[in-house]
């Protein structure tokens, strides 16, 4: 008898609470996911798709829904740490399927080899390639995110990724790495 009672009580309580929650979820329904937006703001926005999602926003949404946070290769350790801070979890190491080298690069088209097939233009997620059919293409370096999505589709392999050169403008005050050339 008591067992039955217990089951009834627990069951009815659960039902009641379930009803309340169900009602609340309808009543207090909110569009959009602020967490996904926060994650999106932390991602590097290269739109490279290396995480397996078509762009940064879809990945951010996936992360908000429990996807692993260590799949952003261009962001590297820094981004993982930031997302981990946001989500309140320990930062895992970068997914081993990805290169650990995330030094910034920019795509460059070797002009004499370009046949003007427009395949790279279709691949570029940020419209950073200029050109039209049978005309030589070129990359707007300032717009390029270095996602290297254009490298694969090129039938003549005329796109190379060039690491961004160190200049006095973006130099990081690393005094230990100055090439000291003492002449005489």
């Amino acid at each position: 008898m008591t067992t039955l009672m217990a089951i009834i009580v627990l069951g009815s309580m659960a039902l009641l609470f379930g009803a309340i929650l169900g009602f609340a979820s309808v009543k207090f329904h909110v569009e959009g996911d602020p967490l996904a937006e926060q994650v999106d703001a932390l991602l590097p926005q290269t739109q490279c798709g290396q995480c397996g999602y078509p762009g940064c926003k879809p990945y951010a949404e996936a992360v908000a829904n429990g996807e692993a946070i260590n799949k952003c290769a261009p962001g590297g350790e820094d981004t993982i740490k930031k997302i981990a801070d946001l989500m309140g979890v320990e930062p895992p190491p970068l997914d081993e399927n990805h290169d650990t080298d995330n030094s910034p690069t920019v795509a460059f088209i070797i002009e004499e080899d370009c046949i003007g097939c427009t395949k790279c233009i279709q691949a570029c997620p940020v419209d950073a390639i200029l050109g039209t059919t049978k005309q030589m293409h070129t990359i707007i370096a300032d717009e390029c995110t270095g996602c290297d999505l254009c490298v694969e589709p090129c039938p003549v392999d005329c796109i190379v990724m060039i690491p961004i050169a160190k200049t006095p403008q973006n130099w990081q005050w690393d005094l230990n790495n100055i090439p000291v050339v003492q002449l005489d």
Partner: protein
């Protein structure tokens, strides 16, 4: 009235849930790396703890005890706490986007905070009445918030300090927590109930 005040002070300082009773240690270590998040966690926990102790008192007194189902308290309380947390999350989400952004991630974490269940269960063992239960729950939450925020402030400084290598990270945090616990033991005997 004095009784309630003494109960409050007693729970906040003397019988501090984190440093004396050692409950709720995972959020204490987990979300104390930055003051901002610690404050968010504190608010969320305070709210949930107070409501949960209130509700669990009601459930216990008016449903479980009359039906002689005291052995179901733990199960029941977990249910209550989970619902309160979920409900709070939804309400906060709807009413204040800003607060939700601050608390959002921590709210689900509270479900697994043992201090919340601890408060509900201790209320029964100590045979608190309705008001006492609320004061006890609130006091426990304030105590939790107090040490969490203090601890996070310390950890923020520690993160940038020159700590010997073997002590970096969690190690120094543990030591700090231990020292804090020692300090809180100094309150023993402050309140006699």
């Amino acid at each position: 009235m004095t009784d309630y005040l003494l109960l409050l002070v007693g729970t906040v300082l003397v019988n501090n849930f984190v440093l004396v009773k050692f409950l709720g240690l995972c959020p204490f270590m987990g979300v104390s790396s930055r003051t901002e998040t610690a404050i968010g966690m504190s608010f969320a926990t305070t709210f949930v703890m107070t409501i949960a102790s209130l509700l669990s008192y009601i459930v216990n007194t008016y449903i479980l005890v009359p039906l002689g189902l005291e052995y179901l308290t733990t199960m029941m309380f977990i249910l209550v706490i989970a619902v309160v947390v979920q409900f709070t999350e939804m309400v906060v989400h709807k009413t204040s986007a800003n607060l939700y952004r601050l608390l959002g991630i921590f709210l689900p974490l509270i479900t697994t905070n043992c201090a919340v269940l601890g408060v509900a269960l201790l209320n029964i063992y100590e045979q608190h009445n309705f008001l006492e239960s609320i004061v006890y729950g609130f006091g426990a939450a304030v105590g939790f918030s107090l040490v969490l925020i203090m601890f996070s402030a310390m950890r923020e400084k520690l993160a940038n300090a020159d700590i010997p290598k073997p002590f970096k990270g969690s190690a120094i945090a543990m030591i700090t927590a231990g020292l804090m616990s020692l300090a809180f033991m100094g309150f023993t005997g402050l309140v006699k109930l």
